[in-house]
Each structure stands twice: as C-alpha cells, then as structure tokens.
C-alpha cells in the first residue's frame, strides 16, 4: 500500500469524522426543533439570528463552546480512571462503527469508494461487535460515578443493552441468509436485484428496528437515563464536555443504527424505477446513490426522533419482558421460518 493511498484514506476518515460530528451537532438541534414542532412550539431560534442566520443555526456551536469552557467536575469519590474512561469509550465506540458503513456506492468501477474500509467483507459483524462495546461506556460511567442514580442507571442499562443485543443480532440472520454475505454492499446489491429487506423480512425489520431503539437508549426504551426516576441516570455525575461526549455518542449511535437499518432493510441506495444497479457509476448515478442513502438515513433518524416525543416509557420489567419473552422467541421463529422457506424455494423452485 502506497503512502498516497494511506493519505487518501486519512483524508477520507477526517472528512467522515468531520461530517458525522457536524451532523451529530446539528441532529441535536434538529431533535430540539422536532420536539418543538411536536409540542406546538417554535424551538431554538435566537442563536445565530445576530448574523442573519435563521432557525438558531449556531445553537450547536454555542452549546459546544459552552461545554468546552465549563468546569469539568471530577467528584472526589469516583473511581477516577474509569470515570474518565467512560465517556471516552462511549464516543470512540460510537465513532469507529462508521469504518465499514457505505455512505454511497462502493466497488471497483466506482469513482470513489464511499466507505472508509471498502474491503472488509464482514462489515455487519464488525458493526455489531463495535456497537456492543458501547455498553462499557455506560456501565463504567454508572459504576465509577459512585452515585446511586448513576449506579441504578448503569445496571439497568447494562441489562437492557445486552438483552436487546440478542434480538438485534438474531433479526438480521434472515437477511444474511438471503444475501449470503456480511458485506453491506452485497446486501444492498442483493436487495437492488431482488427486493428490499423490509418486504422479504418484515418481522426481521420490526424486531431489528425495535431493538435498535433499545440499543440507542431512545424512548420508549430510555430507561438508563430515565429522567423522571433517576435524574440523569448513568451520566448524572458528568459535567461539561464529558457529558457532551455521552450526548455525541448517543447521536452517533443513532446515525449508525439508521444506516444499518437503511442498508439491511430499506435497500440502501436503491430506489425502484431509477435504474440504479450496483455497477452503475458516473457522476449523476453516484450523486443519486449518495443522495438516496443519506435521505433514507435522515428519514430513519426523523422517525426515531418523532417516536421520542410521542410515546411514554416502558417500565424496566416490561422492557425486559419484551426482549426475552416476545422478541427473542419471535426472532427465533423468524430465523427458522426464513431458513425453511429459503431452503424450500431455492431447492425446489430453482
């Protein structure tokens, strides 16, 4: 591998880091705006108006500046190394998930590979693995804080995250079986040639998306932080940028999860009647593909946010019941049914 390739990769990484971090910052603003519209309010609209910018476009910058310049309290009774490690883990694990996510078309005949690591053929496994590391951030934060709310929040959260890990993992098995690959580009390619995942695996999609809510700690599964019970949950004791890092991590997770949803079940860059194929390249097609996939991701994110401002929260035992008593059995059934039907169809019809 030449130096130039490496530099190219680094530039790509930096761009993606920049774009995702910026997107996250603005997603927080979007979330606040959505909350406002859901609640018949206006939402932030002052910050940036001095410069003639509408809709508080500078709000994320102001929040970021304030957080950076805020006192970073490290209480005396915390386990200091772990306390500092926790937000760091939260953000690093959330970031590196993007390494294998295709933001657009990828392949030998494309202009650019819209993926940091285009040649990793087990992307999905990697994303799942990295995503499940995020639980450490939460558990460590809860434990290290030496605070009861944080501790209960951390416990709940660890139980919740690992419980929903299972249906999350099981629900994509059907899709893998159909597409025959862990490479996300191939999953998209399969969908573009056959049918979107949501059509062939509706149950798998519902299970996956639901688990995704739980994995990102979003309402109605936001028990780890459940403000009404536990004040701030696992990040009760965190201030300034460390708190901000949890925040960023959470939203980065939302982006990752939305990408996976779109790639696995919503056909990635594929839209019917546009004539896009895995091989189609050229500027217009490339732009179309990037536009479509980001558009879909944005829709998924909006949906996740919309839910947050609509539903009440589950109770802890109900949440666990849902995971273990409904979703895991359903995921098993989905797996067996899919495997059986595929076996039948591919053996006897082809």
């Amino acid at each position: 591998m030449t130096l130039w390739v490496l530099i190219g990769i680094v530039i790509k990484i930096l761009m993606i880091v920049g774009i995702t971090q910026g997107t996250v910052a603005y997603l927080i603003l979007v979330e606040r705006k959505i909350a406002a519209y859901a609640q018949d309010r206006i939402g932030p609209n002052r910050c940036g108006a001095q410069f003639g910018l509408p809709a508080a476009l500078l709000q994320p910058l102001a929040d970021g500046a304030k957080m950076l310049l805020k006192e970073d309290v490290v209480p005396k009774y915390v386990t200091k190394p772990l306390y500092i490690l926790a937000p760091w883990i939260a953000i690093v694990t959330a970031m590196i998930g993007f390494a294998v996510v295709p933001f657009g078309p990828v392949g030998p005949n494309q202009l650019i590979d819209f993926q940091i690591a285009p040649n990793v053929d087990m992307g999905l496994l990697y994303v799942l693995a990295v995503g499940s590391l995020a639980v450490y951030g939460v558990i460590l934060a809860g434990w290290a804080s030496n605070n009861k709310y944080a501790f209960i929040g951390g416990l709940r959260s660890s139980a919740q995250l690992i419980s929903y890990e299972l249906p999350l993992g099981m629900s994509i098995l059907g899709m893998l079986l159909l597409a025959g690959s862990l490479d996300m580009n191939q999953v998209i390619a399969w969908q573009s040639q056959n049918a979107w995942g949501v059509l062939v695996q509706p149950l798998g999609f519902i299970l996956f998306f639901t688990s995704a809510f739980a994995e990102t700690n979003r309402l109605p599964f936001d028990l780890p932080e459940s403000e009404q019970e536990l004040v701030g949950g696992f990040h009760t004791e965190y201030s300034a940028m460390k708190f901000g890092m949890f925040f960023l991590g959470e939203y980065l997770h939302i982006i990752t999860v939305s990408f996976i949803t779109v790639i696995l079940f919503w056909g990635g860059w594929h839209l019917p009647f546009l004539g896009l194929t895995p091989e189609s390249s050229g500027l217009i097609d490339t732009l179309l593909k990037v536009g479509i996939i980001t558009g879909k991701v944005f829709l998924a994110i909006l949906f996740i946010m919309w839910i947050r401002w609509t539903l009440p929260r589950f109770r802890y035992d109900q949440l666990m019941d849902l995971a273990w008593k409904s979703m895991i059995p359903l995921a098993l059934i989905n797996l067996v049914a899919t495997a059986g039907i595929v076996q039948l169809v591919r053996t006897y019809w082809n």
Binding site: A62, A65, I152, L219, P220, Q228, F243, R315
Partner: protein, 928 residues
C-alpha cells in the same frame, strides 16, 4: 475608570479631511475631555454605521465588553493626533476600513481579548441550561415558560437538567424555606462553574408575602450570590424571559480576564447553613451565639403585645368570661355565630341522639355536647372512635379532618368525621389536653383511622401534643431539633410585631420610612434561638436532621441476599412535583420501604393566617394549591360566610360566577395533572404541553376577570370581587361550548388507549376502596377506588345542588383509574359549566357593600369544598377580632400522601413516580 472599547476606533482620530465619515464624528461617538485627563466615551444613539451594533449585531452600549483600558491607550485616545496610516488605506473605502478595524482586524491585545470575550460570552449566553427544580408557585410559571405560548426554547434554554452537574443556571423559583435552604446551597455548590443564579419572584428575592414566616428565608441572596432578580408574585412567564434576557446582557458584559471562576483564590462556594434550633448561617454563628446568650430576643419580646388567648368553648355559650386585652380596656362581648361544625352536618337533634348513644354504650360522661361538637375525654377517644366507625348506625368511617387549637387552659384537638355511606352527616369530636408545652398527651387514632397518621404528626409538630400509640411520632413539617412548636399562641416568630395586622410600623411612619422586618430582630435576620441553647459547636451543614433516620429494613424479596439501597428521591428531583422527598429503600428495582418527607415548602400559612385580617388572607389562600387558586378562595369564603351567617349570602349572579370559576379551575388543574402524569410515565412533555395550552386559555379568562393569571384573589365574603368584564361570558361560552369537549376528547383519544400507558398504569398502585376511605384520601384518588364521595354531592355548597352532573367512580383503584377519572371529571365539569354559562343571571355580585374591615362573629366554622385535588377544608376559629384566632387548612394533597407508602410497597421505582403523579400533589398545599 473603565471605558468601553476604548481607543482603537477613536472617532476623532485619523483619516483625511473630506472623507465622509470625518464630517460626523459626533454622531459616531462622542468624546468628552475631562480636566483630569481620562476620556469618557459615550456611544451616540445615532451612530450612523450599523446603528451601534457590534460584531454579532447587538447594541454596543449593552454588549461591548467592559475592558479596563491601560494608561498607554488612554493617553493615545486623549491625544487628538491623527495616527499615520500606511499607504494601502487609501485604496479601500474608509468606511469599510473603519468597519474592518473595528470588528475584524486584530489591532491590539485589547481587541483580541474583546473578541475572545465576545465568543466566550456568546457561547454561554446562548446555552443557558437551567437546573430543573422548582420550589413553589413560581415553578409553575417557570414550567409555563417552557410551554408553547412562551417557549423558553427560543433562547436555547429549554434544556432543563435534573443534575446540577450539567446546569448553568439556577432559577430559584419560589419561597425559600429554612428546611430547603441547606439543599439549595448544596445544589448551588455542586454546580460547575460558571454558574448563575436567578431569584424568581418576590419570595426568592426577599421573602415576599411569606417573609414574616418562621420557616421562611427572607431572600435567597442571604445565602447565595444572585445575578438577576425577577419581580412578581409569581412573575409571569414573560417576566422570567425578561429575566433571562437580563442575564444574557449581564453575561455579555463579562470578560474572561476578570471572570472569578478563572482566578485563583476567589472563594466561590457558599457554606451550607445548619439546621439546628433554627437555620443558622455558619458564617455568622459566633455573632448569633453571642446575641442569643445575651437574650436579646427575649428582651425584645417582653415589650411587645402578645396574642390574646381565649377560653375553650363551653357547653353554655352565654358565659364567656370577660377577657381583658392587655391595654386594659374590657373587650366588647363579640357577637356569636350559630354553632355548627360545617354548613351541612348531622344536625342538633342527631348529635344529641348520638351523644346519648355514646353515653349509653361506653358509660356516662363519654360525650358531652359543646358548641355543636362532642366533647370526649381523652381516655375514651379510641373506644368512641371505634364505636362510631364500626357500630353506630351511621358508620363514621371517614376522618375528614384533624386539627388543634391552643386555648387558654387547654389544647383542643378536634376531629371532623364523616360517613361515606351517608355523606353529609359530618360531626365534630373535641378532645382536650393540658396546655403546657410538652405535657399534652392523647391516644393516637392511628389504628382506627390511618388517615390520622400525618395529621397527628402535624399536630405534634405544630402544637407539641404527643399521641400515644402513634408508631412514628416525629416532626413532619419542621425538623427534629427545631426549638419551638410554632402554632402555639405563645410562640412569637422572629419577625413578630403585633398580634394582628396591619402593623403599626407599616402605617405610622408614612412615606418617609418603614421598618424592615430585619430591623425588628436583634440578629438582623429571621432567627430565633432560645437563650439556653449552648450546643453551638455541634452545628454543621452536613447534618440532616430532617428525615435522617434510616428506613427500617424492608422485607427480603428473594432468598438470595442482596444489599438494599437507600435512596433519597427529592427534594430536588424531576419527579417529585416540587420539593417533596421520598426516602426509598430499594432491592434491585423493587421498593421495599418508602417514607415521605415533607416540610420543604412549609411557609407558615397558618401562623401568618392568624395575623392577617380575614380579608387580607384571601391572597394567601391563592398560594396554597397554586394551581387552583379560585377553588381555594371558594373554600375560605365559605368558612367565613358560615360564621357571618345570612348577611354574607352571595347574590345569585355571584353564586354562578363562583361555580363557573371553580369548575374552570377544576378543568385547568386536571389538565395539568393528566399532562404531568404522562410526563412522569416518560412521555417527554408532549402531552403536558398540549394540556397546558388549554390551561392557558382558562388562565386568560381568570386574568381577564380578576387581573391575575394564577393568584386570582377573586372571591370575597358574600360574593366576588368584581363583576365579569363585558365580553367575558362570550369568550367563556366559546371555550366551554366549542373547545374544551373537543380537547378533552383529543387527550382521551391519544392517551387512554396507548398500549404503553395501559401497561404502565393498569394494576399499578392499587388502593382498595376500604383503604382509600381509611387513609382519608380525597377527591379523584378516593373516587378512583370506587367510593362515590364528592363534597359537591355529599355536602352541597354554593348552588351545586342545582346542577346536573355525575360523580364518576373507578373500579380498580389503580393508576389507570386515577388517570381516567380525571378525564371523566373534566367532562362533568364542562357539563356543569355549560349549564352555568347558560343560566347565569344579571345582578349584583356582592352582598352588602364593599368593606376592608369585615366583622366576623366569634365561633368556629369548617368550610369544605371539592377542590380538584380532593376535599379542601378551612377550619377557622374566630374570637370576634379582626383576625382569625385559629386558622387551619385541611389540605387534600397532604392527606392523600398518607396512602403513598401503602400504594408503593412492592412496586418498582418507576411505578412510584407514576403513583406520586397520580396523587397529583401540590407542595404549596402539602406543606402550607
């Protein structure tokens, strides 16, 4: 001297003759030469360029950072020499150059600092995250500020953080009590720098209407540094927003080089005051000790006129011994009111029969009729109560209210009993104990009526009467260790002036000066410690005498042993609806022990009510349950009207207005409670804000009629304060006939069938009908358990007997029923409203003529209304003077809390939050 943005853009400096800007220096800004040399620079309001706005578009006069100008620059500014400019300046437009120099180009260190400041300040001003805690009435307006009509989110400040670690701004919204002060100081200390404090409302700023209370801190700035004061009682949301803008301006004026949080050696924490015999500020503890040892307080009190003690009522009402006022003049024998415990009650004949039956069953001397109440000897109390509850033909199963009065020779504890099977047959039991402090002892009715639990503790706390057999007789509103029993007549508050208002110091001195309450007290603050107190060294801010005793070990839920957590939920906690606290013992997620701890909002309503003249007390009733001020007015008016008799019978129109106001209040309050119950269940503010929208419309009506959104102060004895303004009824009709039904349906449709809501509420926090009655719960809580007890039906007041409405009841008594019953009650309220707005007649709205000094005959009265939270009762003893002799509020929120523990045990921590939300408590009323 400081000057703003001093030298670099000195207007008179530089440029060539003939350039356009050169011709109008005076309009650009103005220099004034002082003989001593420094330049005062005043920004001209008519600044031509950008109209005096700085880099980020704010008016310079406000926004420009205050920078101390070094002498060298000052000198530069003084000299009128045009500095030599490099050649390139000629090539660009001088105006533009000026602009660039002023806003963009960094020309010197000052300028750089100024720019850093602008960014630094801009970040903080645009992202002020308030600490999510509310104290009292102001907190309601603070929440409304987040609602759609006002929307604090516009300023980027809607991110209310539960944890102080993430907050920038502490909005002290409401009365700061002594019990709460250590917690506020601790929260403040736990906030990271930079941090700001906003004192919202009169109470937080200086004590407000409750200033003279013995448990009230007269202004949070006695302990914390306050940045912005927001006046008002409560300030409207607009006022709070204005305060926020003022704070932003203050931040704009800060500079990073002088920021105290970056400087070493600047103390930024405040010492936590200690709850000893009183709230002691540890910074002044030596002075306090010295003055206490000198007995200055006692000396001062010796010279003051004390409250008069009256004798306890006797069986023969024509024989009150002529009491003498300290002035020596014999008091004119006051008019006596008709003796009856409440407007609707068992009646004289029934009471006589009941007394006979008691005497026959439990031996002679068990009951004697005294002023329409049964006087029962202390040792027979429990037997009599059991008999009344279990064997009497009318089962008196409901302890409506329990209160105490300090008389000359005894303390009377009296009990209002009612029957849920035959509502409206209220009776009054009187029991008397020794008057001397600490000697009174009574058998506890805890085991007969569980509803006596908290109320007996309150009597113990306030009067010092001990209840034998009460399992946990501790102080409830004040803290263990507080030196006095404050409702005794011989306890004078630290700011005591005279037995009744209006105090001389507020009148006689006229315009020139009046005496500040602080001047009345030798300590200069609201402090009173008995002279004998010696234990000063033990005072410490980290002691928590309030609710420190750990909960008794709960039941082990599993065979496998795990440690049980003890967590304090509250007083500052997102779910506790104010400064309420639950000491919770947890096993995993399961609640194995729970104790409510209250008193953090105890602002001495009853003691203050005994100084106020009768009329003066109206606005204080507003502040009890601050969500239902009209309802509170109603109850208080009824109590006094009962004493005043027929002369205060409200005219027809007034009666209708009262019903309209009370029912509108019910809708507003239920809207609020349904919305926030959903919030407690985790639906993030969306239902709450929609519910608040309707409430706002109702508040508009209140404001239109009474002049105030929340604290209406609208009722008067014998009517209401003013007639409805023209157009009011049309607007009200429009809301009642066209809007409310639709909106209630909307809430019902979107919420009631939601699967998660059903999962979270069905079968949770069940309270059986028997328990609900036994615990004396009231209002929706009682009816959700299936007991159709509604004071509007049980003991109709006003003109409620003329309206058609149903009393909805639940079946299961669970969280869902308590939620849904409120929806149903709103519907019934709208039904009543529709009838009322159609039938309301024209006519006067006040009986008699308006008067400041109301003559109230001596006697006792208990006025009860069905408030949205439950039965609200006002027990008043009048002695014929201008103020109430004893004034007690039977507050539904307080008494409903008795059942909290019962509902929560065995549930999870998330359920507790919902259950508390379904009780719908308001702390102003719980702690009074």
């Amino acid at each position: 001297m400081t000057s703003r943005n001093a030298a670099p853009d000195a207007p008179a400096a530089g440029g060539r003759a003939g350039h356009p800007w050169r011709k109008r220096p005076a309009r650009f800004s103005m220099s004034v030469m002082d003989a001593a040399g420094p330049v005062f620079r005043v920004e001209s309001p008519a600044a031509p360029l950008r109209r005096g706005r700085d880099a980020i578009g704010r008016p310079v006069r406000i926004a420009a950072p205050i920078v101390r100008t070094p002498p060298s620059i000052r000198r530069l500014a003084m000299t009128n020499q045009p500095p030599v400019r490099p050649e390139w300046t000629t090539t660009i437009d001088p105006i533009l150059q000026k602009e660039l120099e002023r806003y963009v180009l960094v020309t010197n260190w000052e300028k750089l600092l100024g720019m850093v400041d602008v960014v630094y300040n801009w970040g903080r001003r645009s992202s002020l995250w308030p600490l999510g805690f509310g104290l009292a009435c102001c907190a309601i307006e603070m929440i409304c500020t987040a609602s759609s009509r006002f929307d604090i989110a516009r300023f980027g400040a809607e991110v209310f953080r539960g944890s102080p670690r993430q907050a920038d701004l502490m909005i002290v919204s409401g009365t700061v009590t002594k019990t709460m002060m250590p917690l506020i100081a601790r929260l403040y200390d736990q906030m990271p720098e930079p941090k700001y404090v906003m004192a919202m409302g009169a109470c937080a700023s200086g004590g407000g209407p409750f200033k003279e209370g013995y448990n009230v801190v007269s202004g949070v700035d006695k302990h914390l540094p306050v940045d912005v004061y927001v006046p008002g009682c409560p300030p409207t949301p607009q006022a709070l927003l204005n305060g926020l803008i003022a704070l932003q301006r203050k931040i704009d004026g800060e500079t990073i080089v002088q920021a105290p949080w970056y400087r070493g050696g600047v103390e930024r924490d405040v010492p936590i005051p200690a709850l000893g015999p009183d709230l002691v500020d540890l910074r002044t503890v030596e002075l306090a000790a010295e003055r206490t040892a000198q007995g200055l307080i006692e000396k001062r009190e010796a010279g003051l006129e004390k409250p008069r003690l009256i004798p306890a009522p006797t069986a023969d009402p024509v024989d009150p011994p002529p009491a003498e006022a300290p002035s020596g003049k014999p008091v004119k024998k006051p008019k006596q009111a008709v003796a009856r415990p409440s407007a609707v009650w068992l009646g004289d004949a029934g009471l006589a029969e009941l007394a006979d039956r008691l005497n026959a069953e439990l031996g002679a001397g068990t009951a004697a009729i005294v002023q329409a109440g049964l006087l029962i000897p202390a040792e027979k109390l429990v037997d009599a109560a059991r008999f009344l509850r279990d064997r009497n033909p009318i089962r008196y199963d409901y302890l409506a209210s329990l209160q105490s009065v300090h008389y000359q020779d005894c303390i009377e504890v009296n009990y209002h009993l009612d029957s849920t099977s035959r509502p409206g047959s209220l009776i009054l039991l009187r029991v008397r104990v020794a008057e001397a402090e600490g000697e009174g002892e009574l058998p506890s009715l805890y085991h007969v009526y569980r509803g006596a639990d908290l109320q007996e503790r309150e009597v113990y706390d306030m009067m010092g009467v001990r209840f034998v057999g009460h399992p946990e007789l501790k102080r409830i509103l004040m803290w263990e260790g507080f030196a006095y029993h404050p409702l005794r007549k011989d306890y004078l508050e630290p700011y005591y002036e005279a037995p009744t208002k209006v105090f001389a110091s507020r009148v006689d001195e006229g315009f020139g000066r009046h005496v500040r309450a602080e001047e009345l007290n030798p300590h200069g603050t609201n402090l009173k410690i008995p002279q004998g107190f010696k234990d000063w060294a033990s005072l410490s801010g980290s002691n928590d005498p309030k609710g420190e005793a750990p909960l008794p070990g709960g039941v082990q839920v599993e065979e496998l042993e795990s440690d049980q957590f003890q967590v304090s939920m509250g007083p500052q906690h997102p779910s506790t609806h104010g400064v309420f606290r639950m000491n919770v013992r947890l096993d995993g997620e399961t609640i194995v022990g729970l104790k409510p701890v209250m008193g953090y909002m105890h602002r001495n309503h009853e003691k203050i009510g005994e100084r106020n003249t009768f009329l003066m007390n109206f606005p204080f009733t507003d502040r009890l349950d601050y969500l239902t001020s009209m309802g509170n007015n109603f109850g208080y008016a009824l109590a006094i009207e009962q004493l005043m008799g027929d002369e205060a019978k409200p005219p027809e129109r007034a009666e209708y207005i009262r019903v309209i106001m009370a029912e509108l209040t019910r809708v507003a309050s239920h809207m609020w409670s349904v919305g926030f119950l959903l919030n407690d269940l985790g639906a993030f503010f969306t239902p709450a804000l929609y519910a608040i929208e309707e409430r706002e419309l109702i508040l508009d009506l209140f404001e239109w009629a009474s002049g105030s959104r929340m604290m209406c102060n609208y009722f008067r004895f014998g009517g209401v304060a003013a007639d409805l303004p023209p157009g009011w009824l049309d607007r009200c009709r429009a809301i009642v006939e066209d809007r409310l039904d639709r909106k209630i349906d909307e809430l019902d449709r979107y919420l009631s069938g939601n699967e998660i809501l059903l999962d979270r509420t069905k079968g949770v926090g069940v309270l059986s009908a028997e328990d609900a009655v036994g615990y004396s719960t009231g209002g929706p809580v009682l009816r959700a358990s299936g007991v159709a007890y509604d004071v509007r039906r049980a003991a109709p007041y006003g003109i409620y007997d003329r309206f058609e409405f149903a009393v909805p009841t639940g079946r299961a008594g669970d969280l869902y029923d308590r939620y849904y019953i409120r929806i149903l009650e709103m519907r019934e309220s709208v039904r009543i409203l529709k009838q009322a707005v159609r039938k309301i007649p024209e006519g006067p709205v006040l009986a008699g003529k308006k008067s400041y000094q109301i003559k109230v005959p001596a006697g006792e009265a208990y006025g009860r209304v069905e408030n949205p939270k439950g039965e609200l009762g006002f027990y008043v003893v009048a002695d014929g003077s201008a103020a109430a002799y004893r004034y007690h509020v039977r507050s539904p929120s307080f008494i409903n809390l008795t059942a909290l523990e019962r509902m929560c045990l065995g549930r999870t921590i998330a359920d507790v939050v919902g259950i508390l939300g379904s009780l719908d408590i308001v702390l102003g009323e719980v702690d009074r």
